[in-house]
């Protein structure tokens, strides 16, 4: 990479001095961002046809992808918390339901789940509406984006449940003991002592899930959602230039994931605490 100062070898004696850290470790992320954004801008300016036209065409797909990813992520965080607590519950019914949920969802490929949600779910809802005799439900028409978000939430929620469960279990037992011995109820000790620590501990895997979710969101292109991938396909169907289209789409996904990864590590740094 031209124009980048060479990183000092980590075995350097100077590496041990205070303040040396910022010099000895060049953040590779910046290098990658410069490369990717630079490449994209170069393509779009030097070969405006077709790259600029592709970019203009797919940009609303970028918005849809972002919307789906963010919404699914927010709901997944909630679903994961519920599922994780369910998996830790001593109540056999709650524990059973949560375990069933996790095992079933983790056993079916995401694409199949998304297709099921798109085709089967509305039929189920309509059936319930007819049985309950409520016209509004019986006439339910699937909104592709809504069913896509539901499908993604249900699937990623299962993985998130296991992450939460592991996080809660990894908080040392003495923290809960100390909280309870002060007279806090189970709920209070969870809310003020255990969960705050568990959440910080699971930020790395949760961040990973968010980035995976962004990439897996491309599967919704198969179930009638006009996301980035689908817009790319639409452009290609008309103009027959797969190499340019998919290069552009790939670069756009890469830019999104790079910035998302950066956001995740920023959040991790902000909330990190030493034990």
């Amino acid at each position: 990479m031209d124009g980048q100062p060479k990183p000092r070898p980590s075995g350097s004696k100077l590496a041990y001095l205070p303040g040396a850290e910022s010099i000895t470790r060049i953040d590779p992320w910046w290098g990658l961002v410069v490369l990717v954004v630079g490449l994209t801008v170069t393509l779009v300016t030097v070969r405006a046809d077709p790259f600029w036209r592709i970019l203009l065409f797919v940009r609303d797909g970028v918005a849809v992808t972002a919307l789906i990813t963010v919404s699914a992520f927010v709901f997944t965080l909630i679903a994961g918390m519920i599922g994780g607590l369910g998996r830790l519950s001593r109540n056999p019914v709650i524990h059973g339901v949560a375990t069933l949920y996790v095992e079933i969802v983790r056993g079916i490929p995401l694409l199949v789940q998304l297709i099921w949600w798109y085709f089967a779910f509305p039929v189920v809802v309509q059936g319930i509406g007819r049985w309950l005799n409520i016209a509004a439900i019986a006439n339910y028409q699937a909104n592709a984006i809504v069913t896509a978000v539901i499908g993604l939430t249900v699937c990623y929620g299962a993985y998130m449940s296991e992450i939460y469960r592991a996080g809660i279990q990894s908080v040392p037992k003495d923290q809960a003991e100390a909280a309870r011995s002060l007279g806090m109820t189970h709920f209070q000790s969870m809310r003020h002592v255990i969960l705050p620590q568990a959440v910080r501990m699971v930020l790395p895997p949760v961040g990973n899930e968010l980035i995976a979710l962004l990439k897996d969101s491309c599967l919704v292109s198969v179930v009638a959602v006009a996301d980035l991938t689908r817009r790319g396909r639409e452009f290609m169907a008309v103009h027959f230039n797969p190499i340019e289209v998919w290069t552009m789409v790939a670069l756009l996904y890469l830019i999104m994931t790079l910035f998302l990864a950066r956001l995740v590590s920023w959040v991790e740094k902000k909330t990190h605490f030493e034990r």
Partner: protein, 220 residues
């Protein structure tokens, strides 16, 4: 076993003798299978009253168990606000008073990781005292400390004893026992084997006591 108000009872014995378990039964961190435990007239049998009873019992652990994600001040005020429902100002005042009492008012905004072991344990004692308990339980409070820090913690405990706090202490610190204990109890294999004032216990003619003390007292 009875503990009267204002008494300081020190429990000693070999590892595995059940000293910590006995202590932890008092605030039900361990379940017991038989017998009765009565704290301040309240029978410790059903889950309903356990949280209320625990408010009156302060416990200090061997590993300090400070809440790692909170500052010292937050450690001290959390239970006060959440359990005793005190206001933020009131709980902070009490916290600052107690921090001064244990000797580290300047560390109020530090995080536990930034404190030495002795300081952490003193914060832990202050945290327990912030709830104004009627009885304090100490589970080997100095066993995880560097020798240099043991004295600062024992001094705090001694001062507490002199103020008349009811204390049950599991410890190997014979010096502290001699100075502060009204009674000492020797446990072995889950049973109370001997019980007397410190002077009488150190001079006891009981076989098990003599054996244990001979192994331990050579250090002092």
């Amino acid at each position: 076993m009875d503990v009267r108000k204002g008494e300081v009872v020190v429990i000693i014995g070999p590892s595995g003798s059940g000293k910590s378990t006995l202590l932890r039964c008092i605030n039900r961190l361990e379940e017991y299978d038989a017998g009765r435990i009565v704290v301040d007239g309240i029978l410790l049998d059903n889950a309903q009253n356990i949280n209320a009873v625990r408010q009156e019992i302060g416990m200090v652990f061997q590993s300090f168990s400070l809440f790692a994600h909170l500052t010292v001040m937050e450690n001290l005020t959390l239970a006060q606000r959440v359990v005793r429902k005190r206001s933020r100002d009131e709980s902070q005042e009490i916290a600052l008073e107690l921090l001064t009492k244990v000797g580290i008012p300047d560390k109020a905004l530090a995080y536990p990781i930034q404190l030495s072991g002795g300081q952490q344990q003193r914060v832990a004692i202050a945290r327990a005292l912030a709830m104004n308990p009627k009885i304090m339980l100490f589970d080997e409070p100095t066993s995880a400390l560097d020798p240099e820090m043991i004295k600062e913690v024992l001094d705090v405990m001694l001062a507490l004893a002199k103020e008349g706090m009811t204390m049950v202490v599991v410890s190997h610190e014979m010096g502290f026992a001699r100075a502060a204990a009204n009674r000492m109890i020797l446990m072995d294999e889950g049973q109370i084997v001997d019980e007397a004032t410190p002077e009488k216990l150190f001079a006891s003619s009981h076989e098990r006591t003599k054996l244990f003390l001979s192994k331990v007292l050579h250090m002092y």
